[in-house]
Subunit: 175 residues, 2 copies
């Protein structure tokens, strides 16, 4: 049985207990969470959120990439969110390699270079989180008044810490 | 109390019940799920996955963007995943607007144009899912042998359907 067959089989249990078919699309708490794809992070559990409460955007590192901004623009302008929690975490794979190491790993394995695909390895975790929050808060494209804050999640203890207090879009020095 | 304070307060309950501090970083089922940020989708629940089983990558639409590929390269080359489930869903916000509508909405609200930021609106849902799966399966950068399949999740019923049967990286006609 392939992993895809297993997913489909497991979905039958999900459907049997399904009871939230009437939830609306706009997040009830007007919140978007941007965090890492790490398999140990359960965003709703970490934050005590219910289904329907928040958009959850995830990528390698929880980085504020152009694509994360794209998602946040949909989240805010189309679906009304007004707060962004950027959540990095301890023991992140992105802190364990450099962009150059990573590019070399891919090229060794496949014979192809990732070229100019940005890899977003994290050399300095504090600077990366501060930079990601600041970059979003300074975006001229997010709605004025949107709050952006930075958190660190400890995958060994479950503890979430506020590292970058909320910045407000429109209040920061525009870049 | 701000939404960020509420998240920190809720985290105290998460920490009190925390019992998975020893999970390793590599996903136990060597799986990555790429899906939409939609607040109604609970990926682990939909698929019957346990904490630690899979990377979860999420963006507006669950699109195979360059940044999703970046995350999948980390997932596969660094953390050993070998299967990708691309999951789009019914009633997706990205199907309700065009790139041009969306750009106009942002410009009206902020006075700024998103310029050449790709927006990835979905005009034809079937074509978008097929295209996203095919684009990933044809990537020369993913490990040969990686399987990529496309699913549709119905947010009203919880039902997951296989729409694009697995393609294998390296078996497809390279682009």
């Amino acid at each position: 049985m392939s992993v895809f067959d297993e997913l489909l089989a497991a979905n039958e249990r999900h459907v049997a207990g399904f009871a939230r078919g009437q939830l609306p699309a706009p997040p009830a708490r007007a919140l978007a969470v941007l965090t890492c794809m790490d398999a140990r992070i359960l965003p709703l559990d970490v934050f005590g959120l219910a289904p329907g409460d928040a958009h959850v955007i995830r990528n390698a590192g929880g980085r504020a990439t152009d694509d994360a901004l794209r998602s946040l623009l949909v989240s805010s302008h189309v679906l009304g969110t007004r707060a962004v929690a950027v959540v990095h975490h301890t023991e992140c794979g992105m802190t364990k390699l450099t962009d150059a190491d990573f590019a070399a790993t891919i090229e060794r394995a496949t014979g192809h270079s990732p070229g100019d695909l940005p890899l977003y390895a994290i050399e300095d975790p504090d600077a990366a989180l501060q930079g990601d929050v600041t970059w979003l808060a300074e975006s001229p494209l997010l709605p004025a008044g949107t709050e952006v804050a930075g958190f660190l999640y400890d995958v060994r203890t479950g503890v979430l810490s506020l590292v970058v207090p909320p910045l407000v879009v429109g209040d920061t020095t525009a870049c």
